[in-house]
């Protein structure tokens, strides 16, 4: 392998100058990459880099989690996620983060399988999941996980094994149907070839009858078993009083088969077995492709889902250990460190901290909690270590109850009648009328001929291309969208989105960044580095915003820094005593009234939309800093382009009305459609009411949006969103930023145009077939050529279309 002195030896990214090591052929862009490289090298696995080079892949920078995976050895963990193979072997299914190329397969399987006691390791690249079979007597699962982690693949338990099992069963069933239909189609076509050539060379009647009988027998499994999905679909549609695309397909297949069988028995007329067999095969393949793309999107979302923390730190007799969240019951005490999710509903028993409740309430500014306060599962602990005694777990938590609402809303979601199905309603009527007309036209000439022509009509109009038009266009579009960072979980999402309506956005974390940053500084600039140095001592989000937004000066030396819970910071700078904190805190420390410019600032317009921090020393206010949760830089363009496309935009937020209207005015959203102080239930109710008048879509990131996401015609989950929001959303944006929403809507509209074009093609072929068969000009050979030709047109039109990721 060649080593470029300025590129990282592990991940191939440019090494920052500060990390450059002189006279070393190996360079690393970060600590993570260096550690991983060392581990790979030590185990003699350098071939990884060569393999990766062959595949023309570059690596990715690694962040080592440094986790011990101790919870993987807990009996409760193994009971949840592992399966016992034999007395001595256990197999477990894990999600691996960081799988990105073919060489990963080699590295993962090699690294794990060289461990003693590991019997089998199989990585599924498409799903980023690994199946490990090991002997628990020899090796612990936590050690295997640590080893994988040490080369840059953190593992997560695979949740939802039951769903996976059902899905796999469904996939296998469809694949078997396709296999049978394909074998039948190929062989019946060979037989038909013999019959067609016999038409020109006067085959003896005995042999031609034999060929026809064989064709009938060979076609049977395809028509009776493989195609039964269509009959079931059509029947289910009829019972629900809906005309489904499956109905005309079923009519075509069944009439063709019955008439062909009759003609075989009486020994005259046409058989259509070859056309029917190919038709069944093509339609099944179309369905399979669509299902596969949808699965991929679902798998990818579930990977994000798996990244959500699954462990909690249980305090057991004074010892803290990691256990699966599912094993926590009310009354147990858990420890939550800064940056962790709070796993249960409970009361704080020890510690003070700021808790970010944005996922539940939509409030951008964290809440201070101390012993005795209640906290909710799903929120994030920001600044200090907390001990919490659990009062509610699992479904009893606030989040759990919201999830029940989500499930209910998802169950009730009304299906839309897809365009192809709407057309099929007319299609069935028209075709049946035309068949009747054909019989009437030819009745006086010859009864047998009349029926022959009518059946020919039913078969050539059997909507193969029409049946393929939607699945292919949709699956191609879903695949392209996934490469573009948009994961689409349902097939009718694109069609729903292409219909105009109102798009409701959540505010915190969706339209805005979801974190505070300095928007205004009033006062002398010389205080900036001092404030920054003081705030460096705090983990509070306001402090982090200040640190990020103010200039650094290494010469500032502070002493005696103290933080007051819910107030601010004090420190000595030289001989000066400096106070930085919220107005109440500063006032309490300085005494007396604020000068006019400060009160004006505090009572000024939009005071609610921002957080003000004051800086004081020697009893005098020196500076004031305003912090806001800034609107995402791409939000303005996104909102504008959606409005130009004809959609209405609104905001539904849990935050204060005044904050919401400020953000609304920044984005030029009509004030009548900006709603604040919405509880999760109100959001859901709002969407439900709005949905009665117009198409409604919801874009959100929090648990508080989950109900609304499920209720909306299409729910779109934003990158970094909470787990519940991933479950509820139909679309998940896998990349940061809101601009993808506009791309999604644009892509949906393009896809619908492709579908319309496909349908037009398909219908014109059918029209040609109708004319030919009504005038009696058609024979089975023309039908056999016409049908695949029309399907091919639709296939190429679907895959060549520019839907997602195309530059306009």
């Amino acid at each position: 392998m060649t080593i470029n002195p300025h590129l990282c030896s592990h991940c191939g990214l440019v090494v920052p100058t500060a990390f450059l090591q002189a006279n070393n052929p190996l360079q690393f862009c970060c600590q993570g990459c260096e550690t991983v490289y060392a581990v790979i090298h030590e185990q003699g696995l350098d071939r990884y880099y060569a393999l990766r080079g062959d595949a023309n892949e570059t690596g990715r920078p690694v962040k080592l989690s440094g986790r011990t995976y101790a919870e993987f050895d807990e009996p409760s963990f193994l009971a949840l996620y592992a399966q016992r193979r034999t007395d001595e072997l256990i197999s477990v299914h894990l999600y691996l983060q960081g799988i990105h190329c073919a060489a990963c397969l080699w590295l993962v399987e090699r690294v794990a399988s060289t461990m003693d006691g590991v019997i089998d390791v199989r990585l599924d690249i498409g799903r980023s999941s690994v199946h490990i079979t090991y002997a628990p007597a020899v090796v612990r699962l936590s050690h295997i996980a640590q080893r994988l982690d040490s080369v840059g693949y953190p593992s997560h338990p695979f949740r939802g094994a039951d769903r996976e099992f059902l899905r796999r069963k469904e996939d296998r069933a469809l694949l078997m149907r396709i296999g049978v239909a394909g074998a039948v189609a190929g062989n019946v076509m060979l037989l038909a070839l013999a019959l067609y050539s016999g038409m020109f060379s006067d085959m003896e009647a005995e042999y031609s009858s034999f060929f026809r009988w064989v064709s009938l027998v060979v076609t049977l499994p395809s028509v009776l078993w493989s195609a039964s999905v269509f009959y079931r679909g059509a029947w289910a549609g009829l019972r629900a009083r809906l005309l489904h695309m499956d109905l005309p397909i079923s009519i075509g297949i069944l009439t063709g088969f019955v008439w062909g069988a009759y003609n075989t028995i009486v020994g005259r007329g046409e058989i259509y077995f070859d056309s029917l067999a190919v038709l069944v095969f093509l339609l099944l393949v179309g369905r399979w492709l669509q299902q596969r793309q949808k699965r991929r999107a679902t798998d990818a979302t579930e990977l994000f889902f798996a990244l959500a923390p699954s462990t909690a730190r249980l305090v057991d007799n004074g010892i803290v250990r990691d256990v699966p969240i599912e094993s926590i019951t009310p009354g147990m005490v858990v420890e939550v460190r800064p940056g962790d999710f709070i796993p249960v509903d409970g009361d704080v028993t020890d510690g003070t901290s700021a808790v970010d409740c944005a996922v539940l309430t939509g409030e951008a500014i964290p809440v201070w909690v101390q012993a005795g306060d209640k906290v909710n599962a799903g929120t994030t602990n920001v600044s200090g270590r907390l001990r919490i005694v659990a009062t509610g777990t699992g479904e009893q938590t606030r989040v759990g109850k919201l999830l029940l609402l989500v499930e209910e809303a998802m169950r009730k979601k009304a299906p839309i009648v897809a365009m192809a199905d709407r057309i099929s309603a007319y299609f069935v009527a028209v075709v049946l009328v035309l068949a009747a007309v054909t019989i009437a036209m030819w009745w006086s000439t010859d009864v047998g001929l009349a029926i022959d022509h009518a059946v020919a009509l039913l078969i050539v109009t059997c909507p193969c291309a029409l049946g393929l038009a939607t699945p292919l266009a949709v699956s191609a579009a879903i695949g392209k969208a996934a490469r573009h960072g948009i994961l689409i979980k349902g097939e009718d999402v694109l069609e729903r989105l292409a219909r105009k309506g109102t798009i409701w956005f959540d505010k915190t974390g969706t339209l805005t960044e979801g974190r505070l940053s300095v928007s205004r500084w009033v006062g002398d600039d010389k205080w900036k580095p001092i404030v920054r140095a003081m705030e460096n001592h705090s983990g509070h989000p306001i402090a982090r915003g200040l640190v990020a937004g103010l200039p650094e000066d290494p010469t500032v030396v502070l002493s005696n820094v103290r933080e007051t819970f819910g107030g601010g910071l004090e420190a000595d700078f030289g001989r000066q005593k400096v106070i930085v904190g919220n107005p109440n805190f500063v006032q309490a420390r300085c005494g007396g009234a604020f000068p006019d410019w400060v009160t004006q600032l505090l009572d000024g317009p939009r005071a609610e939309a921002k957080t003000t921090v004051l800086v004081a020393s020697e009893g005098i206010v020196r500076a004031a800093i305003e912090l806001t949760d800034p609107v995402r830089h791409d939000a303005v363009d996104c909102v504008r382009s959606l409005e130009t496309a004809g959609y209405q935009i609104g905001i539904l937020s849990g935050d204060d009305e005044r904050v919401v209207s400020t953000v609304g005015s920044q984005l030029a959203i009509s004030p009548e459609r900006c709603f604040g102080r919405q509880t999760p239930e109100q959001k859901l109710e709002h969407i439900r009411r709005a949905a009665k008048q117009t198409n409604t879509f919801m874009v959100g990131d929090g648990v508080n949006d989950a109900g609304a996401l499920a209720e909306a015609s299409v729910g779109i989950g934003v990158h970094g969103g909470a787990e519940a929001c991933l479950t509820a959303a139909d679309v998940y944006l896998a990349r940061d930023g809101i601009a993808l929403v506009a791309d999604l809507v644009e892509g949906s509209r393009r896809t619908m145009r492709v579908i319309r074009r496909n349908v037009l093609f398909a219908l014109s072929y059918n029209l040609l077939g109708v004319v030919l068969s009504m005038t009696g000009l058609i024979n089975p050979m023309i039908a056999a050529i016409l049908m695949p030709f029309s399907s091919l047109t639709v296939v190429s039109s679907s895959y060549k279309a520019k839907t997602f990721g195309a530059k306009p």
């Binding site: 009996p75 001595e88 296998r172 027998v217 060979v218």
Partner: protein
Amino acid sequence: MSVLYLVLPLAILLVGTAVFAFVWSVKNGQMDDLESPAIRMLYDDEGAKVTKSPSRQTQDGATDGIKAR
């Protein structure tokens, strides 16, 4: 031409065997992952895998509570 009466059923029998083999492989999960085996095969010749057997004694009760499925 009468050989057809023998050859054609034979051919169909052959097809039947192929279909059976396909159905068997799908049922055994061989078609579940269509990507990884294609790549894995490229690395197969990298030295035979060490065969291991779970021979050592149990370290502790880390496996308690696993349901045998």
